[in-house]
Subunit: 431 residues, 2 copies
Amino acid sequence: MKGINVGLLGFGTVGSGVVKILKEKQTLLQDKIGTKIVLKKICDKNIELKRIVKIDKDMLTTDPYEVITDPQIDILIELIGGINPAKEYIMEALKNGKHIVTANKALLAQEGKEIFATAKKHQRCVYFEASVGAGIPIIKSIREGLIANRFLNIHGILNGTSNFILTRMSEDNFSFREALKEAKKQGYAEADPRLDIEGIDSAHKLIILAYLCYGKLFDINDIYVEGISRISSADIIYAKDMGFNIKLLAIAKKIKNELEMRIHPTLIPYNHLLSSVRGIFNAIYISADLVDDLLFYGPGAGQMSAASAVVADLVDLTRHIKAGIFSPVMEIIEDRMVGRLKNIEDIESRYYIRFLAIDKPGVLAKIAGILGKYQISIASVTQKERKKQKIVPIVMITHEAKEKNLKEALFRVGQLNVIKDKPVAIRIEEL
Amino acid sequence: MKGINVGLLGFGTVGSGVVKILKEKQTLLQDKIGTKIVLKKICDKNIELKRIVKIDKDMLTTDPYEVITDPQIDILIELIGGINPAKEYIMEALKNGKHIVTANKALLAQEGKEIFATAKKHQRCVYFEASVGAGIPIIKSIREGLIANRFLNIHGILNGTSNFILTRMSEDNFSFREALKEAKKQGYAEADPRLDIEGIDSAHKLIILAYLCYGKLFDINDIYVEGISRISSADIIYAKDMGFNIKLLAIAKKIKNELEMRIHPTLIPYNHLLSSVRGIFNAIYISADLVDDLLFYGPGAGQMSAASAVVADLVDLTRHIKAGIFSPVMEIIEDRMVGRLKNIEDIESRYYIRFLAIDKPGVLAKIAGILGKYQISIASVTQKERKKQKIVPIVMITHEAKEKNLKEALFRVGQLNVIKDKPVAIRIEEL
């Protein structure tokens, strides 16, 4: 029986994980699917480096086009990452009749339209289970398992690095800097961690999930993206006192005909499952019309976890190629109920606010007065210390308020001469 | 283009949910999969009853064989429940060349071997996503999304009714009876709730999950099954004091070459996600070699949630029929590492123990002495009240101990004349 031939671009961490699985679990996979998956060629810039798995030297090349143009190869796995040259390789491979498996969230979020259109034109599939939540089968679940549903909201903890940092800050009283340093030390953060801690990686993943749920591939520039680098230990502690954990949340929320898409640090009440997602774990909380609320949870990164998802994609493709199905698993259908993206200024939310104010009579009245003028009503207020005529933190939780009003009110409060430093505001999510 | 014809046996709660989806979302589904799913016939004992969806009277019949033998029907949905006559109908339908979609966990757990063998013989598929966790796509995830994994452990909250009762007992201080009454009132418990509260429904579901994970369909008689009917409010409160929630847990655990399969009330520490699963929600926590720990969470019951899973199965089958794939999605492969089932007597666990003892000097020493003799070491002990010469509860948490030893020790302790009532023991699960 003819097997399915696979070529790999990128023999890095996840790449060598995939190779290891295909080697060590060949029999298991063949028994399960009735077809042999044959890894034929691997391309990497560095083919001398020692990997966790031994490979026949003849299989290795430094020339990607040796893989892309090989007529015997049915499926190309792209694990290089980044936009270029990954995009060029994928486009060429599609034109050469290859199906694609990739974990490249940045590429799909940015260039997905062109890639999916090219795939469709050439009747080839692009699979990308490993691009969100590593080994959590979230993409298959949305696309296939929940196919009859209309999706309402997505609330995701999608970046393991940020969640690791916030967990350390919360549980070990680390400062942001200390926690980031620890993340780097443990290999959870890149030398340049901006993609992770500034929310960009989360945004890429949310764009992919929203594409599956609502059928539209949104532009990252149209989404509100705020990372965790300005979160202070103090705010984490005060939030905890009030029964909340702070998480970097990726939110897509359907309200009437509008969709909110935003990534930002968020207060989540203790009793919600998302509040208990610790360390490098990811979780995706989805609301849909038929199934109500579902949660998918697992490690958000890791060599073998991501490789598990890549191999699952390979298996699906193998089965479909064998059966002669050349269309994507399921067509992505645009949800016509989802109109334009809502501007962050126009959202409504509850807020955690912290002011640094001079401790003297009348200060609270002044603050409350300004907030009231902007229709912001206060649910609770705590002055954290007592130091007459000294600077003390005042923490408030508001009821639902308009973001625009809140911004203006905080600007006005910030101008009071009893207020030191810029007021801090963090959104609270009702779940 | 020829559509796929579907027949339905059982026009009850879930059945009418399925009909509603097929009717209201016909276009959405057709757009996504490129094929029309046509509901052709519905059989139920009562075809006069009003349902949530209007149906052409010509489609209704009271004769199941009108559906089973209709040569135009490609897929039969069985939503009657119970063993007989559901089994007979499914077997006949397979022999008549129909594929099957069912939510019938009891039937699959009890008669699965014969059903799956018959399906294989006739090259037809039996799909059963709705049988575990309603709309949670757990079966597809295990079978397809995690295909490259070897499974280690399963920890599941699989019965919504029991979890609802335990939640009410814990959060509202209901007695077991009161909570059961409330569950019945809200439609979460059957008139005869034994399948749910005695752990049998959980066992059926665990058998199905273990079949997918380990490739063996175990007999319910070989599994330890203990329900929640003997859990008292007192134990729930004492457990909470020590940082645990009590849940009815379905456990499959691979230890070396043996597999533990057991359903019983279990203490789970607060900081574990499973501890936060409330009300009728279900959760399946799975450990596997590549992905580590995953959690799948969602409503464990509900008309539209279960119907969502049935329709997802229909869609998968439709696509496969169209492509001419007549084998099951993936072959179930026996995990040769899983040998025999371990007897409950041979497991090791930590335990919560409660004694009712007369409050006088020397009692604790006597109890501890007996436990010590059986190699049971105590991690913590609390006497809940002080009432000299009166009966008071003593609560202990043990370190890891052998079940057999524990049983014998408790029997011996129970014989002391300072001990009133039978000692209570509840297992604690390390997660």
